[in-house]
């Protein structure tokens, strides 16, 4: 590639507020566990995910580590970095933006989890681990377009590391284990088949999106796209102030995230929602709480309110509801608002 063409700016995407919100929440709080974006073709799914990279805060990484280890946090280092750190070496650090790593649907397992390094083996007769996509994605975003078309055995390995934050390799003569904490972002078109429930649950949040129906907004989409195609550089420049503002907002939210509190009462509300909405397990509760906190932080507040929880419930329950077979993924909105209503009445 010669001169890099600027990516379409995140802030210039018209509408699709829910999707944008879900992505931003993950940028603020990586512990949310990613987003699954479900929608028709041509609804700016991929554009939004790719443009998110420009908004991600900068991170410090060990410059010569394939796993982008943090140079100062022992707990999150790979074994090599940890050894060096313990030996008293000052690890070379660079600052860079967190990356968006693509996992193509056609990827093979050895490329995803890593494999035996061919060159080292032939030249030196040594067994070295060749890191794969999961290594690259550590501390960044792992983006799977058309995630529902992913091969089953790739999904299996993905499930494991997405849940534990560690990639364990016992294959092709190599035995290795390295940190693999990534934000899993998937897009899919439900017309082409659903996701396995187990993988579905690994996504922290889920949004269903549709094309925009208001004519003005649609016209705006076209206008902006044309402007961008004509001159991407100045288009990006024009949007830069907005981008910067959003970056600042994310940064600030990240700073105050740890101070955000949820009242006992609201925690019970979350538990109640989870129980009454009949979700499997406890992941939904935890994600709902984290999402509510992050929403508050993004809004500059240090106290979660019930509207945060309502939004969080919408984002975190969609895909976790026990469905009757073939029932569409989606939320029973009525039921949810009823729970809110009755909880408010009880409070008064």
């Amino acid at each position: 590639m010669g001169i890099e063409r600027p990516i379409y700016p995140f802030t210039a995407i018209v509408g699709q507020e829910k999707m944008k919100k879900a992505l931003l929440l993950n940028a603020v709080n990586p512990k949310l566990g990613g987003v699954l974006i479900r929608g028709e073709k041509g609804t700016a799914k991929s554009t939004a995910v790719r443009s998110l990279a420009q908004l991600l805060p900068e991170i410090e990484v060990v410059s010569d580590c394939p796993f982008s280890c943090p140079p100062d946090n022992k707990a999150d280092m790979c074994s090599i970095c940890l050894d060096r750190f313990e030996m008293g070496e000052k690890l070379p650090a660079v600052k860079r933006r967190a990356r968006v790593i693509d996992l193509p649907v056609s990827a093979t397992e050895d490329r995803v989890v890593g494999t035996l390094n061919l060159e080292e083996a032939i030249k030196k007769g040594e067994k070295k681990f060749e890191p794969g996509i999961l290594a690259e994605a550590n501390r960044g975003i792992l983006y799977v377009d058309e995630v529902n078309l992913l091969d089953d055995h790739i999904v299996d390995v993905l499930l494991d590391s997405a849940a534990m934050g560690v990639n364990t390799i016992e294959r092709e003569g190599v035995s290795y284990s390295h940190p693999a904490r990534f934000i899993l972002v998937g897009t899919m078109n439900p017309e082409e088949g659903e996701l396995r429930p187990q993988l579905l649950d690994r996504f922290g949040l889920c949004v269903n999106i549709e094309g925009i129906l208001e004519p003005e907004a649609r016209v705006e989409v076209i206008k902006r796209r044309v402007l961008y195609e004509d001159d991407p550089v100045s288009f990006a420049r024009a949007w830069e102030p907005k981008q910067q503002a959003l970056r600042d907002q994310i940064k600030k939210a990240k700073e105050i995230l740890d101070q955000v509190e949820v009242s006992e009462e609201l925690l019970f509300l979350i538990a109640r929602i989870a129980i009454e909405m009949n979700v499997d397990g406890h992941r939904a509760d935890i994600i709902m709480m984290k999402a509510a906190k992050t929403l508050a932080a993004l809004d500059g507040r240090s106290e979660v309110n019930s509207s945060d929880i309502q939004q969080a419930a919408d984002l975190s329950l969609q895909h976790r509801m026990r469905r009757k077979p073939f029932q569409k993924i989606g939320l029973e909105d009525e039921k949810l608002s009823q729970i809110f209503l009755s909880s408010k009445m009880e409070a008064n």
């Binding site: 022992k74 707990a75 280092m77 074994s79 940890l82 093979t108 397992e109 989890v113 494999t115 035996l116 083996a121 032939i122 030249k123 030196k124 007769g125 040594e126 091969d151 089953d152 055995h153 299996d156 390995v157 494991d160 849940a163 534990m164 934050g165 560690v166 390799i169 016992e170 294959r171 092709e172 003569g173 190599v174 940190p179 017309e191 088949g193 659903e194 396995r196 429930p197 187990q198 649950d201 740890d258 925690l267 019970f268 979350i270 538990a271 109640r272 989870a274 129980i275 979700v279 499997d280 397990g281 406890h282 992941r283 939904a284 509760d285 709480m289 009757k324 077979p325 073939f326 569409k328």
Partner: protein
């Protein structure tokens, strides 16, 4: 692993039975492990992983890759035995029992161990490089998502678990070492069941569910958040409790040899096992060990009856049977655990009673939720409950989420798996595993046969390694000759292709036939969805048949179409069969590796002619053509009521097609599924090398 801050065992809220099972295994490895089944997000994996930091310490020979026990000369590995005879003593260290992770993507060479590549190349020595089974000796072998594990790897583990020894004969190394380990597996049954032989290897089995107590849920949230925010501080806070439990375990281990069990209680163990109709004696023995461990853990030196009561459920849960064991060949498609864990607390009789008690509730439910069958219900109200009962599986009343169904509604299908076959196939799906010829799929092992240009690099290097000292190497560390080349054998599941051919003529409206049939089909659809099978739907009514769902794996679409399928008109059976057959043929042309199964649901009253012959004769002719095509398997569901007025036409068609045949009266959907299942297995048995493609 340094970057793994493990959530402390003691901080996990609830899940007491799962904790108990793990602790008892830590105290007494003879119990033989735990299988944890449960929904996603119920702390299954968290709990197992957290176990590693509270496990007891053991003495091992320093530097021994197999963690040999210095106090037990009989089980020493070769190397340790040599040291012992030379020096008279062994260097000893104490360390915690290890939890060894077996990732589901693991390849054979890493599991059993293989030739040490580096030493072979550099020193020209043939040495054994231990694999996961070696590392797991005297420890825990943990398999997350164990039901997704590759069959070939499962075989290896079963082998080692049964014999306690790992024998390696590959790539020029011949080695044998002890491999006794506690097997711990976690799985989500939604993703498919486990092979019965593997289930039996687990000493205990626990089913976990989320807590429904809001207090507990809030506690779970707050603790998790606290941990995520400040892991170090959280761990510190719980350290005291962690330490206490560690000491408890150590104490219990020490006490265990002195704990006794009376003869009376021993016979209670056997009685419990017999009541559960378990196969073999493993359950009795494990029950005894488990109750000893529990007594020891509870600071007692004698087993009490309550101990046995407490552990009986853990030990017998997955071993229960209702009737004498089925013949071994059926074992595969009827995993007994699945049958029986629903009704583990009630003898079958009681279950029946329950069912009828709950009947009213079920029918009232039905009015709320638009069931697929309501359209027909209007016409035949009087039959509602009867058919409802029929299409409901027997376990409908038990408190499992997939068990309450309205008439005609789908239900969870019992597993029907095909055995692996040896033929190379292409495709993608989840029902049957098969070795495949394309370059996709999971790399399991390697072969010397060269066909696909799918180089197994690691295996090639290992094959070349032993000869390096003799070969001429120029600028490379390893010289490879063409005789070393190995290729990958990959494994991937392929789906079946099930084509439903449905009689939608007016006669199907009678007696709620359609509703019951739909219920069964929907269930099969759901099963197909999870197994990535392809399905197709052909319906025939009026004067023609129609492909209402072309072969697809988008089952949602099939559901919608099924739901809306109206009934009425004549019965163009011939056209229906022909349409289905053409569909199968075209599908076979596209992909010769699929298993097509034609399911015909009809009353057989063919009354529309396609070629001007008598309708019935035409239908029989077409049936014969299909019957003669041995690529296609068939199954006929007869919806006609048996009686003096019955014409038995469907049966004739079934005979003509060589199809499996059964009646609507038997259409408790479970049976249909079993029928389909047995059909599938039969394909397998005939299958082997010959059946597909000529």
């Amino acid at each position: 692993m340094p970057w793994e801050n493990l959530y402390p065992f003691t901080a996990i809220v609830g899940q007491e039975r799962m904790k108990l099972a793990l602790l008892l295994n830590a105290v007494c490895p003879q119990i033989g492990g735990v299988l944890i089944r449960g929904q996603k997000g119920t702390a299954k994996s968290t709990l197992v992983r957290s176990l590693s930091v509270i496990l007891p310490e053991i003495e091992v020979v320093e530097g021994c890759p197999f963690s040999c026990d210095p106090n037990d000369p009989a089980t020493l590995c070769e190397q340790c035995r040599n040291i012992l005879t030379k020096t008279g003593s062994l260097p000893v260290v104490r360390r915690r029992v290890q939890v060894v992770d077996l990732p589901i993507g693991a390849t054979e060479d890493r599991v059993v161990g293989t030739i040490d590549l580096e030493r072979a190349i550099k020193e020209g020595k043939k040495c054994f490089e231990p694999g996961l089974l070696a590392r797991a000796h005297r420890g825990i072998l943990y398999i997350d998502e164990v039901n997704l594990l590759n069959d070939h790897i499962v075989d290896i583990i079963l082998d080692a678990a049964a014999s306690g020894v790992n024998i390696v004969e590959r790539e020029g190394v011949s080695y044998c070492h002890p491999a006794r380990f506690i097997l711990i597996g976690t799985m989500n049954p939604e993703e498919g069941e486990l092979r019965p032989q593997l289930i039996d290897r687990f000493g205990m089995c626990v089913t976990v569910e989320g807590c429904i107590d809001p207090q507990k849920r809030v506690a779970i949230m707050s603790r998790r958040e606290e941990f995520d925010r400040h892991p170090a501080a959280f761990l510190q806070k719980w350290e005291e409790k962690q330490d206490k439990i560690r000491q408890n375990i150590q104490r219990a281990i020490k006490r265990l040899p002195s704990v006794s069990i009376s003869d009376e209680l021993l016979s209670l163990c056997s009685k419990k096992a017999m009541e559960a109709l378990v196969a073999g004696h493993r359950a009795d023995i494990i029950l005894q060990w488990a109750s000893l461990a529990l007594a020891s853990f509870g600071d007692r030196i004698a087993v009490q009856p309550e101990d046995i009561e407490t552990v009986a459920e853990l030990v017998l849960f997955h071993r229960k049977r209702q009737s004498p064991p089925p013949p071994p060949q059926q074992d595969k498609n009827q995993p007994h655990d699945h049958d029986h864990h629903h009704d583990h607390q009630q003898p079958p009789r009681q279950g029946e009673e329950n069912k009828s008690n709950q009947q009213p509730e079920n029918s009232s439910n039905n009015n709320h939720q638009g069931s697929s069958s309501e359209k027909e219900e209007g016409q035949e109200q009087e039959n509602t409950s009867a058919v409802g009962q029929e299409s409901k599986p027997a376990q409908a009343t038990l408190p499992f989420k997939e068990k309450v169904f309205q008439p005609g509604e789908p239900f969870k299908v019992r597993r029907f798996d095909l055995e692996r076959d040896r033929k190379l196939r292409k495709g993608s799906g989840r029902r049957s595993r098969t070795k495949i010829a394309t370059k996709a799929g999971r790399y399991v092992m390697s072969t010397m046969r060269r066909k696909n240009n799918d180089l197994a690099f690691d295996a090639t290097l290992r094959a070349a390694a032993p000869y390096q000292s003799r070969r001429k190497r120029e600028n490379v560390a390893i010289a490879i000759e063409s005789s070393d080349i190995r290729e990958k054998i990959r494994e991937k599941k392929i789906g079946n292709f099930i084509i439903f051919t449905i009689d939608a003529s007016g006669s199907m409206g009678a007696n709620k036939r359609m509703s019951a049939a739909k219920g069964a089909i929907l269930s099969l659809l759901m099963d197909a969805y999870q197994k990535r099978d392809k399905i197709g739907l052909v319906a025939f009514k009026g004067d023609k048949a129609e492909v209402i769902l072309p072969p697809t794996s988008s089952i949602e679409l099939g559901y919608k179409l099924m739901e809306d399928l109206p009934v009425g008109g004549k019965t163009p059976l011939t056209h229906g069969l022909l349409t289905a057959y053409q569909l199968i043929e075209s599908q076979l042309r596209k992909d010769p590796f699929i298993y097509p199964l034609l399911v015909l649901i009809t009353d057989g009253r063919s009354n529309v002619s396609l070629y001007g012959d008598k309708p019935m004769r035409e239908s029989l002719k077409v049936a014969e053509i299909i019957g003669n095509d041995d690529r296609v398997r068939t199954l006929v569901v007869d919806v006609e009521k048996k009686g003096p007025l019955a014409l038995g036409l469907s049966e004739k068609i079934a005979q003509q097609m060589g199809a499996k045949y059964f009646l609507l009266e038997d259409l408790r959907a479970n049976i249909l599924i079993e029928m389909v299942a047995s059909e599938m297995v039969e394909i397998e048995r005939n299958g082997g090398e010959g059946i597909i493609i000529s």
